[in-house]
Subunit: 283 residues, 4 copies
Amino acid sequence: MKKAILLISCPDKRGITATITQFIFQNNGNIIHADQHIDEQTNTFFMRVEWSLDGFKLSNKEIPVVFSAIAKKFAMKWDLNYSDKLPKVAIFVSKQLHCLYDLMLRYQSGQLACEIPLIVSNHPYAQKVAKQFGVKFYQFPITKSNKLTQEKKEIALLRKNGIDLIILARYHQLLSGKFVNEYENKIINIHHSFLPAFAGRSPYEKAFRKGVKIIGATSHYVTAKLDQGPIIEQDTVRVSHRNTLNDLIRKGEDLEKVVLSRAVRWYLERKILVYNNKTVIFD
Amino acid sequence: MKKAILLISCPDKRGITATITQFIFQNNGNIIHADQHIDEQTNTFFMRVEWSLDGFKLSNKEIPVVFSAIAKKFAMKWDLNYSDKLPKVAIFVSKQLHCLYDLMLRYQSGQLACEIPLIVSNHPYAQKVAKQFGVKFYQFPITKSNKLTQEKKEIALLRKNGIDLIILARYHQLLSGKFVNEYENKIINIHHSFLPAFAGRSPYEKAFRKGVKIIGATSHYVTAKLDQGPIIEQDTVRVSHRNTLNDLIRKGEDLEKVVLSRAVRWYLERKILVYNNKTVIFD
Amino acid sequence: MKKAILLISCPDKRGITATITQFIFQNNGNIIHADQHIDEQTNTFFMRVEWSLDGFKLSNKEIPVVFSAIAKKFAMKWDLNYSDKLPKVAIFVSKQLHCLYDLMLRYQSGQLACEIPLIVSNHPYAQKVAKQFGVKFYQFPITKSNKLTQEKKEIALLRKNGIDLIILARYHQLLSGKFVNEYENKIINIHHSFLPAFAGRSPYEKAFRKGVKIIGATSHYVTAKLDQGPIIEQDTVRVSHRNTLNDLIRKGEDLEKVVLSRAVRWYLERKILVYNNKTVIFD
Amino acid sequence: MKKAILLISCPDKRGITATITQFIFQNNGNIIHADQHIDEQTNTFFMRVEWSLDGFKLSNKEIPVVFSAIAKKFAMKWDLNYSDKLPKVAIFVSKQLHCLYDLMLRYQSGQLACEIPLIVSNHPYAQKVAKQFGVKFYQFPITKSNKLTQEKKEIALLRKNGIDLIILARYHQLLSGKFVNEYENKIINIHHSFLPAFAGRSPYEKAFRKGVKIIGATSHYVTAKLDQGPIIEQDTVRVSHRNTLNDLIRKGEDLEKVVLSRAVRWYLERKILVYNNKTVIFD
């Protein structure tokens, strides 16, 4: 079943839901999911609506044309996607491969509705994984001096492949502001701590030294500020004085995989809206 | 701000959401929350919609009259409530008082939007709690022979006080089918296990003997079948071989309080819909 | 059954456990619990051993005399307690009373093996709770100018009552370094965030603004540095964009109660050892 | 560092710990971990002690000879292992490969201290995984009529390879009593429910129909009674009315991987003791 998914945000006002659902109904659409939220502090309305295109009177090309009139009336920011057009995803990774393996296995088993044409790394280690899953691999070694040049090549590669989403699956290189701006709210990172605690380098070491009783992992959109972008998902696991630093890393890696893959799946299913450096997750 | 809350279930069909939201919009209502769900197996549509009555064109008396035409068209089961009419709640309890205390403290601190005019018990122990919180206390000792007679008196008391919801806060008496039917989906029980495991008597003892590594608590609507009514909420906590039976009881009691109070709050906020012996929780 | 509980830390070395357990065995003690831990980084040995005093050859007065020779040999820091001597506890509280109620109800139901002779507050609100549970109440209003004078009176009161443990059950006043030093590792605070995230004032507001997907609570010993003392226990609960600030507070309060009471219980059962600003919890 | 690990259970009595730790100390061993537990109901003593063999006066062959005298005195059941002898593991799997992949990746990354010489299946699908990780693959198709014959061949294969532990990583065939008895407490199964709820076939379907709000996974030793062996580990995850059966399966698979791998790691680290159809986990 082909479906359309519409994500909307706008100032709250009487009649928004009625107008949108009428638009779908009058064009013979059947709503499969509809979810809305109002942020009371900023009086902002958010909506995600998913409807079947079986028998819908408008073609994929006509829908945005007709809908833009409604959007204009309510000053909406909106994003329209179709379930039959799979997003294209690039995975960036450094030395640790557990998140990469996890994503590729989920991809292989059909959990992730996307195409993954390529894997990028500053190291050679992920090449074997790429090969195993039949995905192209590109290595861009990064040094202090070549960073911006390499990024240019990476961006060219991403553009050429029509990449919609970049996943930083334990990619231990800071992206430049230019890179981040080109893919605003389209780069998902996994940070191996419960943010905002232990941002930056070596979060497991910091957590170990601090003696916390619970550790966490956080998936978030990447912004120019390190580890401060909108949080998409977090999860935690209990640790104790018996756990060594290696135990924390092992336990944490299990969290990272789950927390990153949830964020990716939500992105691919168009369930995430960003506002005020926070996220609405219509799950 | 006065609000109306409408809970709906009906066979799914094009145009339901559009019709309901138009009804609210055309009468000048402002939707505050709207949530819907479709059960794909039975093709059933569920909705909860909450709107502000400030400036609404219809009075509380007119709303159901006008809405019943819409409801008829879509063969809806529906339930309409107003935020300014507080539900009346009776708490039933036996010897363990932790859930009772917990509910009364939440009530006192304003977490539970209801009135609690009375506490009922088959034992005298809860009397002091009732007194402390200024609530009437009624003791109905239950024996094998007097059960139905006592229940009649209880039902008379509940009717007289216009009780909308009965909470079994560790009330260790089976209610008769007659009692349960009179208050269908209006009796919430806390069972001290992760149902369907360890239904019936002594669930902590059973969990201890079984050697489970996690215990749970379950709040559910009471039906004629013991511990088999629609589950509203569950939660779990980790235990280990170091935990004695008393540790399980202590840990479990903390769960019971939280799990029961969530179910009660959701009920009072009209967030629960029942179908197929399961619940939809619009939280 | 009367029991002795010994907490030990010292540089790790061959023969420590053998020596301690021989000491107990040769004096006809029966070990009920024994737990040990070695911190590999600092090569420090920790032990908690609990044995029955039924038939033990040494009296309560003789035990420390005899044991001090062993302790000296291994350069042990040690702490010996007897189960028949209940610790004396003072609870400090400000306006929010949920943790106080929770502690008093657990105390009343026998979960906390201690005496609670007094409640202290800078506000009058807790007086009714103190009265209800038959505990003395002392109000010490705090202003910028009278703080140290009031603390002196508080310390005098604590000394006079032989207080072993001070619980800050949402007491919103900084204690002076002098106060803290007098009760080193004897003051337990509950902080309403997942430390080290959101230390200091208004953690729920900070968490809400940050858009975290999980909130937490942390119980810790109080040191001169605000919210930086050794962490005893933490727990977390999931939140979403649907939760208002008030929802976070409500959910968080349930965590606070559980997390604080666990720390208190472990303290009373002599299960906590502190080193390097971290804790070993022999649970 | 070479280490010895001793697991003990026996009737509780004064002096057991003292005797064991003296034995290690007098032979110049350094205890790295020691953990003990007493089951109060049956008055049974359990201990796990791990010590460094650097400079130990007894050889690996002498240790059990000397220790057996102590063991006899206290009527101990005991199990002695050395860290330099890696257990040999066989993985059995049917069609679902997520647990197999997860175990092999952990094995590859060094999380599991064992050798995995072979994978067995009643289906051909796991062959590619075996090949990828360089492990031998044996297919034994099972029908009603050939079951016992095939099991004989399997047992011969296991014996020939000196297999110590069999992991049923979603192996959907009942093992015969003969097979189970030959590998008592040496077969670990993952069941995709929170046992004892939803034992037997199709647990996700059952959980979905029941409308539980939390699902779980359970790793346990296999006994002759289906899904009733001693529970080693469990974990749970929240589900809601929005989750389809496929969502439950997806969420559950993440649990299965974590819960099974924990049990396997604990087994390999000799941290599990079984008594009364329950487990003591010295983690």
